[in-house]
Symmetry: C2
DNA sequence: TCCATATATCGAGATATCTCGATTTCTCGT
DNA sequence: ACGAGAAATCGAGATATCTCGATATATGGA
């Protein structure tokens, strides 16, 4: 988790919303049968939900990934993104530690 | 505390550093005798520490104030800025609530 | 009232972010 | 090897942020 990159990645309402949507698969259309047991969400579904272009969402997911807030896994033609809960907790701890008075 | 503005204000390393410096008066030169009992720090001292122009720091402090993260108080020609600890805690709670899985 | 000092505001150029459509790359089936 | 679909990368225009110097405003003291 890169604190500066995470800060930057989270400084955008859509990217924050994506991270929120990824908490629960029911925020997206049902998975294809062959993806039923995979974690995470493909770019196309996130794109549809966010109402932004494919390239924008791909870019967003790349930023979230570089920040270390999500994990990506490729399965065939699909890339599945999911939250990195540990990294998110680490980010929150780091921000808290930085902001809170000793 | 405005969550979006706070997010934006904190997305800058110098502004984060300023908030950090403001935790402890000993990060700055000693106060003038007539300011000894006042809370907060004047713009000029913050500017000196940050090595940026006066207008930039005034702008930064305005952003932090609009975000609700600092409180300003004028005393004579000086404006003293200090952390709003309650607002900072509220910001952290809000971010945590937004990011953490239920 | 006039000056000096502290801060705020203004205007502008440099840099970064946003967002898109077009193109490229990757992977699977055929 | 080839075509189709998913995602990544590229290039560019629009918008936002950064940062400055110059100027304006506010305040206290002579």
């Amino acid at each position: 988790m890169d604190l500066d990159k995470a800060n930057a990645a989270l400084n955008n309402p859509v990217r924050r919303k994506i991270l929120d949507w990824l908490k629960d698969r029911s925020n997206f259309p049902p998975a294809l049968a062959e993806h039923a047991d995979l974690e995470g969400m493909c770019v196309a579904y996130i794109q549809e939900k966010a109402c932004l272009s494919q390239s924008t969402i791909s870019n967003y997911m790349g930023l979230l990934k570089q920040a270390g807030l999500v994990i990506s896994e490729r399965h065939g033609q699909f890339t599945f993104y999911r939250r990195d809960e540990d990294a998110i907790r680490a980010f929150l701890s780091a921000v808290e530690k930085e902001l809170l008075k000793p």
